[in-house]
Point group: D2
């Protein structure tokens, strides 16, 4: 049976990616797609996806979503915050790809997103949809959730890299030290932009840090790590120093992660931990070392590739790579859709072809 | 008076850059340039620099260098190791751009460079030429040095970023913690390569770490930091966790540096330290924050741009950018040449035009 | 029923693309894949395609191909020339992606391919597989062909752009004038290369013509045009001035074509001709003008996009774009496979996702 | 003696390039630089050029220009059209880098530039400043001109490639045929843009034609060719079919030119013609063939590189490359400044370093 899905915000980079995935998904009928800029144009003509649908306005899409099984929002966070309660009230379950419902602590929104959260009551009930971290039980439970907050792109790569290691970390025992992550993202992570600073002439050949120590994914990552860490026991709260960088590529995130571990930790120990954590995960690929993880390994796919190296001096570095538009956004949203609809998690995602020549 | 300079290894990327700088240097006569691949071709025809010289073979260049004031080597480390003693014996003073004479501890060479050092006796007398770190006195003293080891590209950016901060660091007082540096370099840092892994099809759109925790600039950086730190007092030895990445750009290095500092350290404190360290340095530019440092700010020039940010939680991040072929190689070599010849440090370097449109 | 296919030469860029397409093709079992460099490695590990197969050596692949329905060769032309007769003798039908069997005139091989053709007797019986140009009847007939020569990448784009226009051309009536084509290709068109001239540092930011007026696709294009043109009547032979350029992108060809047309020819006339030629072709998309054709429209897909503009002065320009690795190589080979096996031409190709964000 | 120069429009890509060139020019004092967006900021801080000047508003710059020897405008064409008469009236001689005064026929402006020309009386007296084409006498005469129209980027490369060949062309004798030029430009040719279509995500990996058959440089090129051609004799008027393309590089233009020539024309004949035309030109470099001309050969410099190939069939193709911001704009403007001030044409331009690693 085809489940009817409404896509709100179909013309951003994430929206286009999601349109293509949904249009090819065997168990989904893409029933509604909104784009104020492309109203009346055909999906096939604009993005080459096999669909007979035409774009409608946001208002019309929200109205039509009432008759859908699921609404997916690829809208900016502030727009999502306003739209999600209306959509939930109208009927469909919701997957929101923005940050609007990822943080449980509403007081963080003004600082990190620039707006007061108007619906803090929904935050507690939004499920944070990072499937690999919450295991089969939770995945099953997700069938009952009405609102899934799809994780951020950086947050996906970094939590997949760090969460399994928390047990190895000296931080878990209250030792001093820090988790440090430098991550680099392709420009589509910033969304579709008519801005001089994102022009080819400015980006090509360049690299720079941005929002260093104050990116909105930092509290999202810390929330995830502390959820994981403190489960069952009382550990000191950990924090992550996070510096994102803007990379002259179209797609892909590489996160280079440094976490202090007990002396005597070896690459083998780390490998055992990762294999245990991810042995049944179809979208996590373990690499031979920190050097064996490249954007090219993942771009175009829903995979996260993770590698690690340990020096003779006990330094551990972990690298994790994803496609920011797939595993970091639209692909993970489809993964969540699959879980919510009781489908195999890989449906519509397993055959995604790598973009690397 | 023109000083006669011999350039050994003129056809690598560093060699080409150095050729262009020397050909335009007002106090230098580029008297010899070797390139086995371009023997007999004209410098003007191959690299567009204003010179009537033609390339000669390595053997011929070494012979001709005897009559020069200075020999500059842009050869691989193992080749430099063998050539430098011959050149010194023949007469000219020497600036070596490879790593062959940068480390004082000869036992590090097999691990980090892959060869036994055949001339350990020269290591103690090679001057490590990072001008901004050794002050005016040493610059003066340099006029007497016969062999200058020109620093590595990563090592230049990272030492300029970190050395001034050592006094602020909790590490200076024996506290636990680590200095962590993730750095990204354009492909010319790897030299001229006929290798599939450096082909456009493999590099464009990609990013990956390489030689994570085992790059040959790590001991060079640590030697520099410990030289600085321990001057006069007995501090614990510090180490640096260093992960280089290969970036899909032609030129430029960005180093993102994390150093633990005492609580209460502010952006203003850090700024005071940097201004004190670099107030008279023509090639160091201080930026407004860690976000305000981009490859585009420095590519084509001999400048190092440094920015820093401190979070409310006391995290400090420092970014430093250089052009790996200029301040990270050929430009710094000319800076050293100027100092060795008693010229203004800026000669031939001040007018270098930025490559950023 | 699954048809067994052997892929010879699976590790070049075309071979990798074809591996991914075959591994996902619903009616094909990828039974053999050869790669001397990757012998023993798994297809899934190397290229991320869903297959349990491991690479075998060329010799082993040729032996195993005997039990396959079809052998596909993504080998260099000289290698194909030697392998195809052996494979045909051993049993399977053959699709050769090289130029070895595209030209009927064996005397052209020394000039354009650099070798004497050792099997000229096969040239007359090789079918030149550009499906859109040979219509449904020939497509049907193709089921009987044993050897299909898959067209070259430039030749595909240029023939699709020019062949329908021959009737409009003044050249058809013996008038003076020329067809001129300037085309630009991404670097994967040159194959996997460990060559300095294809390194990122040399290609990024560059553009140059190569093999101007002497590229091996020129006789292929002219053969195709003259086959089409002279059908049934006696027209003067036409020639094409062809200048290819190397573009700093990974994939994609844009061909800009100039053909003299009778005065009074309008954009509407041209549009009528193209619509008539391609109305039933699933992989040809007609654009609004010559400006409305970009690599981004086609990269990742099996589509050819064609646009045209006519000036007030009667100048006609046609632009055509394809992905050189898909419609220009592996995708068209699968299209030919579909026709040879009596399948819908679109099988395994219709859902290919665009790479454009 | 330093000549005082006012630069109007200093923050576009051409303006920045010109700022850097003027700030380093030995006979020029950059006395005024306008940029409404950067008012009050220092030139050194914004573009790294050695100057103590700060940007002023357009109005202030025009006022201050009265006391300068020369005003240079890097403003859009419509702005230049309005500003130039005011500046001329105020005193300084003027070099305008826009198209506002390049065409003698005012009726072409609405079609090609989108505005009515408000000062057609100035068109006849504006000198079209392509130095290599007008020889030493005209260069001398230029000292008397008060308004120089600096040529367009495409128009520079294409006229340098084609003008010397007119005598060889069959078109000169009234034969049928066409001159066809396909040219490709880096994105800085479009100026500084805050437009989605010029964003990195849209440009990287792409190529497309734009303004095919209707670009504003077409009448400029034809005016130049016909000026040259008809000098002294009565030839039929020639036209040029011109298709520009947008290239994913920052700088550089490559023009691929096709001109019909008499049978028997050889590469040697063509070479003789070019050598005769350009033997004394410091900025024209003749290459070995059409394949031997790359953006990398010229980017960063004021050079135009020209190569040609002739096939056995008598086809001639000429490629010409320039840096669109240097020889195609700011560098050529400095060349014109030198001529107007009676300086050596190479002043401030000879030492420009190539950007190619």
């Amino acid at each position: 049976m085809q489940r009817r899905v409404a896509l709100i915000g179909a013309s951003g980079y994430t929206g286009v990616e999601l349109t293509r995935l949904l249009a090819s998904h065997p168990n989904v009928e893409l029933a509604v797609a909104s784009s104020d800029r492309w109203v009346g144009e055909s999906i096939e003509g604009k993005v080459g996806a096999p669909s007979a649908l035409r774009y409608v306005s946001l208002d019309e899409a929200v109205a039509q979503a009432a008759s859908c099984d699921l609404a997916m929002l690829a809208t900016p966070a502030e727009a999502s915050m306003a739209l999600v309660p209306k959509l939930l009230a109208a009927g469909p379950r919701v997957i929101d790809l923005s940050g609007a419902f990822r943080l449980r602590d509403a007081t963080l929104y003004p600082t990190f997103y620039g707006f007061e959260h108007g619906h803090p009551e929904l935050l507690a009930n939004a499920f944070y949809g990072l499937p690999e971290l919450y295991g089969p039980e939770r995945a099953a439970a997700r069938r009952d959730f009405r609102l899934v907050a799809n994780p951020g792109c950086y947050a996906t790569a970094i939590q997949l890299a760090l969460c399994p290691l928390l047990g190895l970390s000296t931080l878990a025992h209250g030792a001093a030290g820090r988790i440090i992550v430098d991550a680099m993202s392709g420009v589509t992570g910033a969304g579709r932009k008519a801005a001089e600073e994102y022009s080819f002439a400015e980006i090509a050949g360049d690299l720079r840090a941005y929002r260093a120590l104050r990116h909105q994914h930092q509290p999202e990552i810390e929330q995830g790590l502390n959820d994981m860490w403190n489960e069952g026991t009382a550990h000191p709260r950990v924090s992550v120093t996070f510096v994102p960088h803007l990379l002259p590529v179209q797609r892909g995130i590489l996160a280079t992660c440094h976490i202090p571990v007990s002396s005597g930790t070896t690459a083998e120990t780390v490998g055992y931990v990762y294999r245990t954590a991810f042995e049944r995960e179809p979208f996590v690929v373990l690499a031979k070392s920190a050097d064996d993880v490249a954007l090219h390994d993942v771009v175009g796919t829903n995979r996260c590739r993770i590698g690690w190296s340990v020096s003779d001096r006990g330094e551990l570095v972990v690298t994790a790579a994803i496609d920011n538009l797939v595993k970091g956004a639209a692909g993970q949203a489809v993964q969540n859709l699959n879980l919510m609809l009781g489908l195999d998690e890989r449906t519509g995602l397993a055959g995604l072809r790598s973009f690397h020549p």
